[in-house]
Amino acid sequence: MRARRSAIALSAIAAGSLIGIVGCSPASGGGSGDEQTLTVSYIRTDAFTALDTLMQTTKEQFEADNDGVTVELQPASANDEDYKTRLALSHRSADTAPDIFYQDTTTVRADAEAGYLLALDDYLAEWEDWDQFSDAAKQAGVGNDGQTYAVSLGTDTRGLWYSIPVLEAAGIETPWQPETWDDVLAMAEAVQSSDPDAVPFMLYAGTGTGEGSNMQGFYQLLYGTELGGDALYDSESGKWVVGSQGFIDSLEFVQTVYDEGYALPVDRALDPNVWQSVFGELFPGDALGATIEGSYTPSFWVPGGSFEWDSYADNMGVAAFPTQNGDGPGVSMSGGWTLAVGAQTDAPDLAFEFLTMALSFDNSLSYVNENSQIAVRADVAADPSYTEANPFVGAVTEFVEFTYFRPATSDYNQISAAVQRATEAVITGQASPAEAAAEYDREVESIVGADQVIAP
């Protein structure tokens, strides 16, 4: 009997010590006592060190300027999705919410609605550098209530990248600037007949390439149709557009590109890694006429990039992607990340000061240069070290004038997936453009509700 009692005792001690350990463990996070601590959360990987450099520099400057304040950097080694998940979770408790953090433009509105972000309007009004930021960049940090919640670190634009040797072999003069969709198709046809082995015009589509298939594909078309910037989401009413002719026209363009064999075969186009073939094999091998890609394209080819290519500057050209009928200068889509301040911070003034220090002229300049970003500050964009970083910086920076940001509502990712499914249905032949558009309309209505859609 005594022996068995000792078994109970043993277990009880084990259990008790467990609880003891649980109880005694120190909580992390916010500063206590007279020492102030600012925590900063962001992404750092071996392949993405620019932001870490920026944060390290800013921490040094900030701690030198502010006695008694410690900046605690919490870089995360993760992909975007996992980082965003952890960030959203960390906002659930004041103890774990970081004071300053790296924030995707696509989640600004939703996170502001959730009450995770601090409204910055009063602070920005007193920050002299704020005037330097472009309007598009300012817009990217605005929440549904019209207040500004985040400040852009840099952005990207998208354009039509083409191979000079392939186009010239097909008798097309470079520099090339198509005015309408038909010009693009004419180029593809010319390339196809001059070199049947080449891929004339790669257009990303379908779910395989994810968000990229919209940003570097369908949206470039849709935003160039009649409704322009309101083709996907009507900014005035705050409702999603259904039943538009532009949507069907865009899908028809996609269908033409795939049916005529201008793009890669469907099975390759749906491979999540197809873009690696585009950068790594097709363009350097003079086997691709043109494709829509981001302003960061040269970063893959420069020395130290994933697909080093010495002569890319002489072989490649970039043009604005045209609108459907040639109205306006062109179409570009933008994404990018921002810095934001947590709504639960103990020291909003200090946090904002840190943010402005990180986004100062000097720090911004080295960050955008190191990370192949499009500058959002006018003074940075004018600096020679920025404009001379590679031969294409000037051209892709000009796209900022007509670029669009996605409607970053909390439903956005679901809508985006519905768009990807629509293009996939068309390129695989499962549905005609009209059928796919009708299915998209149904999906949007079921995602956001019938009262949140609008027909043009």
């Binding site: 009997m1 068995r4 009692r5 078994a7 109970i8 043993l10 277990s11 009880a12 084990a14 259990a15 467990l18 609880i19 649980v22 999705e81 998940t85 959203a88 979770l89 989640t107 939703a110 996170d111 609605e113 959730a114 009450g115 995770y116 379908g206 779910t207 395989g208 994810g210 099975d267 390759r268 749906l270 491979d271 999540p272 890694n273 909390s410 990712n413 679901q414 997936a417 499914r421 996939e424 695989t428």
Partner: protein, 311 residues
């Protein structure tokens, strides 16, 4: 078997003087405490919490992140009306049966069995190689499998060597590729269990069967398998439960595509919960997975019960 007479009966207590059943239950259950506390705090509470959450409209971000509302069975209604869900359910069952119940289980047993008879060195090398795929971190294994099946991958290059034309397997046969990848990655687990279990089969039983003139196949079917019935049922249950929740492997290889041709429930749930932020809807999907796991498991438990009753 000698243990059958005493297993399950209380150990002899020579000085049991008026001890009540309650005390006895406590004494016996005592060693369960550390595990029970850990499970309760870190697993059962969150699971119940998540289950309750599946009746709300909680999201990861947006207004409903901080102030979710009770929506009753709306998530489940939406789920059962969703054609993507029924497809996903079917793919999950196919994936689990083909890669775990058939693939890992049968292959794992065959390898373990072969190891007991093969040359010692060969058994060591073979076992080591199979374990290699298992010890790779899941994300690495997923990349390796992707590299193997992709259009310019190892498989097609090997096919090219023997003069066969390859294809983009991840596109034309996504389910087959993820099933084979999961067999490749997971077989070691059942192999290790069967390897340990086969060593426990009393040699005298096999010896006796051999003296009775049973050939190798008969010895396997009549002696080894019946003795291991409990182990087999347990192993099946464990690998089924593990396979039901396989996510990274599928996500890296096909991301559930093309379209949703390989979108099993974990992929479906992840998309909803994290990409679309609908935590509550994702949890409703997970609850359905729990039920599938339970259905599979109840089948194995029935086998286990019978195996124990036979002892």
């Amino acid at each position: 078997m000698t243990r059958s007479t005493t297993a399950g009966s209380p150990p002899p207590s020579r000085r049991r003087t008026g001890s009540t059943t309650v005390v006895r239950a406590l004494v016996r259950g005592g060693p369960l405490l550390p595990a029970a506390i850990l499970l309760a705090v870190f697993l059962i509470v969150p699971i119940l919490w998540a289950f309750v959450g599946s009746f709300t409209n909680a999201t990861l971000t947006g207004v409903t992140a901080t102030s979710p509302e009770w929506v009753g069975g709306a998530n489940y209604e939406r789920l059962f009306a969703d054609p993507d869900f029924s497809l996903s359910l079917w793919l999950t069952v196919v994936f689990t049966v083909a890669s775990a119940v058939i693939g890992q289980n049968v292959l794992g047993f065959a390898i373990a069995f072969a190891m007991t008879r093969a040359h010692r060195r060969m058994a060591a090398i073979g076992g080591g190689v199979i374990v290699l795929a298992w010890v790779l971190p899941e994300i690495v294994a997923a990349f390796v499998a992707y590299a193997f099946f992709s259009r310019d991958g190892t498989l097609n290059q090997l096919l090219g060597v023997v003069g066969l034309a390859g294809d983009n397997w991840l596109f034309i046969a996504p389910m087959a590729t993820i099933i084979l990848a999961n067999v490749w990655r997971g077989t070691a687990f059942s192999m290790l269990i069967y390897r340990a279990a086969l060593a426990e089969v009393p040699p005298e039983l096999i010896e006796a069967a051999e003296i009775d003139g049973a050939n190798a196949w008969q010895r396997l079917m009549r002696v080894t398998l019946p003795v291991l019935r409990g182990t087999i049922a347990t192993t099946l249950m464990l690998i089924t439960l593990q396979t039901l929740s396989v996510f990274t492997l599928i996500y890296v290889m096909t991301a559930g595509g093309p379209g949703n041709a390989s979108s099993t429930l974990p992929v479906f749930a992840y998309q909803e919960a994290f990409r679309f932020g609908s935590v509550a809807y994702g949890t409703a999907i997970a609850t359905v997975m729990l039920i599938i796991g339970a259905v599979f498991s109840l089948g194995y438990i029935a086998v286990l019960r019978r195996a124990e009753a036979d002892r």
